[in-house]
Symmetry: C2
């Protein structure tokens, strides 16, 4: 395995991840879902974990705080999410789905699961396991490196 190969794999990984996102986004658009792929990820996690802070949510979806702030801003503007003041900590919020947010999640969930299926055609159960293991290995290889060195 030459060093050149590693660069190629990084390229393939990036290219494929972009394609998966782009495909999903296009389907979202065709279906008039009124949210982006990333907004959906946030909505879905909020629906499964109500009343959490932005920091907790950011950790769930693996987005940084500025990015999450802006996604939440957009979801609030669209009326799907609201920020309630945190009862004990005035720096923080409890995020919540509005009734519109709840029905949006209910309406979109089955459609989105169907869209996600497309990417994984022609792959076996075992492929999924391998893929997951490799992705997680890569992630862990790089996570926290910046602090250690």
């Amino acid at each position: 395995m030459t060093q050149e190969q590693f660069a190629k794999y990084s390229f393939l990984l990036d290219r494929t991840a972009r394609k998966v996102k782009q495909y999903a986004q296009q389907q979202f658009k065709d279906g008039d879902f009124d949210v982006t792929v990333d907004q959906w990820l946030v909505l879905k996690n909020l629906s499964e974990n109500g009343k959490i802070s932005q920091t907790e949510l950011a950790n769930l979806v693996f987005k940084d705080h500025p990015t999450l702030t802006r996604i939440v801003d957009l979801l609030c503007k669209k009326g799907y999410v609201e920020r309630e003041p945190h009862p004990q900590d005035r720096r923080s919020f409890h995020l919540n789905l509005t009734p519109e947010g709840v029905s949006k999640v209910t309406a979109l969930r089955p459609k989105i699961l169907e869209i996600r299926e497309k990417a994984w055609e022609n792959l076996s159960e075992q492929d999924f396991e391998e893929f997951k293991r490799i992705l997680n290995t890569i992630y862990q290889n790089l996570d926290g490196q910046l602090l250690e060195e």
Copy 2:
């Protein structure tokens, strides 16, 4: 395999791709490379295929034309790339590395290959083959779908 799983794999893929890019970008920054990861990809491909048009280059690096235009703009501003008028077609350019661009590529290439290696620790030759196959399968599952339907 449930539909929920497919969504999780999409998430893992996105998360890992972002981590790989972020890690590389951080190393680029620590090393004062004066280019971003994507700018490097463009520079490298230009060094291996001189005198090509932006359309050809965009196809090589799998970026869309507006994105490539802007990356080339930045590389021109930094003095690493220049647009020569295409001799036969006034709509088009021949892109070229400047002397500074050539020495930048020469200086960075070994460092970047080393950085890329980090992501792939703890994985075997066979893992790479599997990984490449799965990524390409996914890509092909989604490529061109928008036109067919």
